[in-house]
C-alpha cells in the first residue's frame, strides 16, 4: 500500500485518435513506485460534478521526467472535463494503485492481447517484459482502425503488433481472440498470456488460455468510488486461483485490477 495523494501538473494533453487523449502528468510519487498494470485515480474537477475521482491505467512510467502518461477515451462528463484541461494546470492524483502484472509468469514468450483503452496499460507491461529479456507478441484490437491505440509506441520498442478490427478497416477483420486462437492452432504457444480490454474479450481470452493450460493474467475494470480499498464498491466474484477455497468478492482496486484468469467467476462478476 505504497501510494500517495498529491498535486500533479499536466505536461501534455493531446488528442491521439478521435475522442482519445494522451495526458502526461508530472507527479514524481507515481513513476517512483509504479508497476505495469497499476492505475491512478484523478480528480477531473475542483467542483462537485462529477463528485468522484476517475480511474485510468498507467501507459508510460517516466522516472527521469518524474512523470507518467495515460490514454483515455472521452465517454462521459468526467473524461470530457479531463479533455478540456490545459497544459500546465494542476491536477489531483492518487496513486499508483492496485497490484500490477506479475512480470515473472512462466517462460520468455508471453502473449499480450489488448483491446480499446485496454491497450495503454499493456504498453508499460511490454516495456517491463522486454526489460526482463522476454519477447512479447502483441495483438491489438478495436472496433475500427481509429481505435487501435499506441501502435507507434509499440513499434518504437521493437514490437510489431498484430491487428484486428471489427470492421476490417485495419488488419484482421474480427476479434483479437480469433488471431489468438489461430496462432495457438498453428502451434505458436505462448508461455503466458496478459490481457486488458472489454469484459467479453477478457473472458474469452481467459477461457482460451485456461483451456490450453497457459498461465493468464487479466486486468479488469469496475466502477470505483475510492480506488484504495475502503468503499468495497469495485468487487468481482472470485475464487482462489487453485480453485480450493470458497468463492468470495475481491476488490478490483486492491486485489486487482490484475487477476489470474482462474480466479474470476464470470457469471457472477
Amino acid at each position: 500500500m505504497d501510494y500517495t495523494q498529491g498535486r500533479g501538473r499536466i505536461l501534455a494533453n493531446v488528442e491521439v485518435a478521435p475522442d482519445h487523449y494522451r495526458m502526461e502528468i508530472e507527479a514524481p510519487f507515481v513513476p517512483e513506485r509504479a508497476l505495469p498494470g497499476q492505475f491512478v485515480m484523478v480528480k477531473v474537477t475542483d467542483g462537485l460534478a462529477p463528485v468522484l475521482r476517475r480511474p485510468f491505467g498507467i501507459y508510460t512510467i517516466n522516472e527521469a521526467r518524474g512523470s507518467f502518461e495515460m490514454i483515455y477515451r472521452v465517454v462521459g462528463e468526467g473524461t470530457r472535463l479531463l479533455s478540456e484541461m490545459a497544459d500546465g494546470v494542476d491536477i489531483d492524483v492518487l496513486g499508483p494503485l492496485g497490484n500490477g502484472f506479475n512480470l515473472d509468469l512462466a517462460g520468455d514468450q508471453p502473449l499480450i492481447v489488448a483491446g480499446g483503452v485496454g491497450v495503454p496499460p499493456l504498453f508499460s507491461l511490454a516495456q517491463g517484459l522486454i526489460g526482463k529479456g522476454k519477447k512479447p507478441v502483441v495483438i491489438i484490437g478495436g472496433r475500427t482502425a481509429d481505435d487501435l491505440l499506441s501502435l507507434d509506441a509499440f513499434r518504437a520498442i521493437g514490437i510489431e503488433p498484430l491487428l484486428a478490427t471489427e470492421d476490417g478497416s485495419s488488419g484482421y477483420k474480427g476479434y483479437v481472440t480469433a488471431i489468438m486462437e489461430e496462432r495457438l492452432d498453428d502451434g505458436k504457444i505462448p508461455s503466458a498470456v496478459y490481457s486488458c480490454g472489454p469484459k467479453l474479450m477478457l473472458r474469452r481470452v481467459g477461457e482460451i488460455a485456461m483451456s490450453r493450460g497457459i498461465p493468464c493474467e487479466l486486468s479488469l475494470e469496475a466502477i470505483m468510488a475510492c480506488g484504495f480499498g475502503v468503499c468495497l464498491g469495485c468487487v468481482v466474484k472470485t475464487c482462489s486461483s487453485d480453485g480450493s477455497s470458497e468463492h468470495d468478492f475481491s476488490r478490483v482496486c486492491c486485489e486487482g485490477p490484475v487477476f489470474d484468469a482462474k480466479e474470476i467467476i464470470w457469471d457472477e462478476a
Binding site: 468522484l52 468510488a225 466474484k237
Partner: protein, 304 residues
C-alpha cells in the same frame, strides 16, 4: 490562540468533533498512507456483524448528481476477525475507536453488543438500525418507532459503553424516531444514514446496481440531513452526531449550528482520503478567522 475544538458527547470526550462515517473509512488502517488517523476526533469502523458477510453482487455503486448510490450489502470481516486482526493495531492509534454494528435479529444485535462490551480501546458503540429486520418481514428496524425502541432497550442492557444509535432518514417523522430511541436508552444519536435511491441504465434497461436499489450519500443529501439534525436536536436532550454530504468545514458547521455536537465524514473520504483531517484544519481556521474561541459555543447556535 488556537481555538478549542474539543467536544463532549454524553461523557465521550473528543479532541475535535470530526469522526469518520462507518463504511467509508474501512477499518481505519487503510488511511495510514495518507495521514495520522490519531488526529481525528474518533474513528468509526465499517459495520460489523456476528459472522463475516460477503455482501451484494456487483455492480455495487454508481455515481449520481453530487452523490453516489451504494449497495455494498454490509460486507464485513465479522466481529471476531475485527477484534483479533484489526483491533490490536487500531489500539495503537491515538483516536477513540467507535464500532458500528448491525444484526438481522434483536438477538444478533445483543450478542454483538455483549461481545464488544469492555473490549480495550473501544470508546463507544454505534448501532446501525437501518437494516432489515428478518423477523418483521424485512422492514428496517429503523423505520418503526416501537420496533426500534424495543431493540435499543435490549442493546442498552447488554453494554456499558456509550451507545450511539444511527438513524435512518427514510422515515416520515425523524422527531418521533429520535425521541423513541432516546427514551429507550440511547446516549447519542448519529444521523443520517443513506436515503434509499435507484439509478437506471436506459440503454441496457437495468438498474445500475445488482441489488436494484442502494443508499444515496454525498453532498446531494446534505440539505435533508441538516434539516433532520435540526428537527431532532429540538426534540431530544441527548447529543447528536451530524452526517450527510459533508465535504468542507463550512458543511460541518451547518450541522453544528443546527444542533450537532460532532460530525462524521463519509463519501468525502473517497473523493479525498484526507477529507476528514482537512476538515479538522478547516474548522480551526474558520474559528480563528471569526474570532471564536470554542467550537462548542457554536453547537445549536442557529438564529431565527
Amino acid at each position: 490562540m488556537r481555538p478549542d475544538l474539543s467536544v463532549n458527547l454524553a461523557g465521550l470526550e473528543l479532541k475535535n468533533p470530526v469522526m469518520t462515517a462507518s463504511g467509508t473509512f474501512g477499518y481505519g488502517l487503510e488511511f495510514d498512507p495518507f495521514f495520522d488517523i490519531g488526529q481525528l476526533g474518533a474513528i468509526v469502523v465499517k459495520g460489523l456483524s456476528l459472522k463475516p458477510k460477503a455482501g451484494n453482487p456487483p455492480p455495487r455503486i454508481v455515481e449520481t448528481p453530487a452523490g453516489m448510490l451504494n449497495a455494498i450489502g454490509l460486507q464485513n470481516v465479522g466481529v471476531d476477525v475485527f477484534l483479533n486482526e484489526k483491533m490490536p493495531e487500531l489500539r495503537e492509534k491515538k483516536a477513540p475507536v467507535i464500532v458500528n454494528f448491525f444484526g438481522n435479529t434483536e438477538e444478533e444485535y445483543v450478542a454483538l453488543a455483549e461481545k464488544l462490551d469492555g473490549v480495550d480501546g473501544i470508546a463507544a458503540l454505534e448501532a446501525n438500525i437501518s437494516c432489515p429486520n428478518v423477523k418483521a418481514g424485512g422492514i428496517a428496524f429503523g423505520t418503526d418507532a416501537s420496533v426500534a425502541s424495543t431493540l435499543i432497550g435490549k442493546i442498552r442492557k447488554s453494554t456499558s459503553l456509550p451507545l450511539i444509535v444511527k438513524l435512518s432518514p427514510n422515515v416520515t417523522d425523524i422527531k418521533v424516531m429520535a425521541r423513541a430511541v432516546e427514551e429507550a436508552g440511547a446516549d447519542i444519536l448519529s444521523m443520517i444514514n443513506t436515503l434509499t435511491g435507484m439509478s437506471i441504465d436506459v440503454r441496457t434497461r437495468r438498474s445500475n446496481l445488482a441489488n436494484m436499489t442502494g443508499g444515496l450519500s454525498g453532498p446531494a443529501i446534505r440539505p435533508v440531513a441538516v434539516r433532520m439534525v435540526w428537527e431532532a436536536a429540538k426534540s431530544v436532550n441527548i447529543p447528536i452526531i451530524g452526517i450527510g454530504g459533508i465535504v468542507s468545514a463550512e458543511d460541518a458547521l451547518e450541522f453544528i449550528l443546527a444542533g450537532a455536537s460532532a460530525v462524521q465524514i463519509g463519501t468525502a473520504s473517497f473523493i479525498s482520503p484526507t477529507a476528514a483531517i482537512d476538515i479538522v484544519k478547516g474548522l480551526e481556521r474558520f474559528l480563528a478567522d471569526e474570532g471564536i474561541s470554542r467550537l462548542s459555543d457554536m453547537i445549536g447556535a442557529l438564529e431565527g
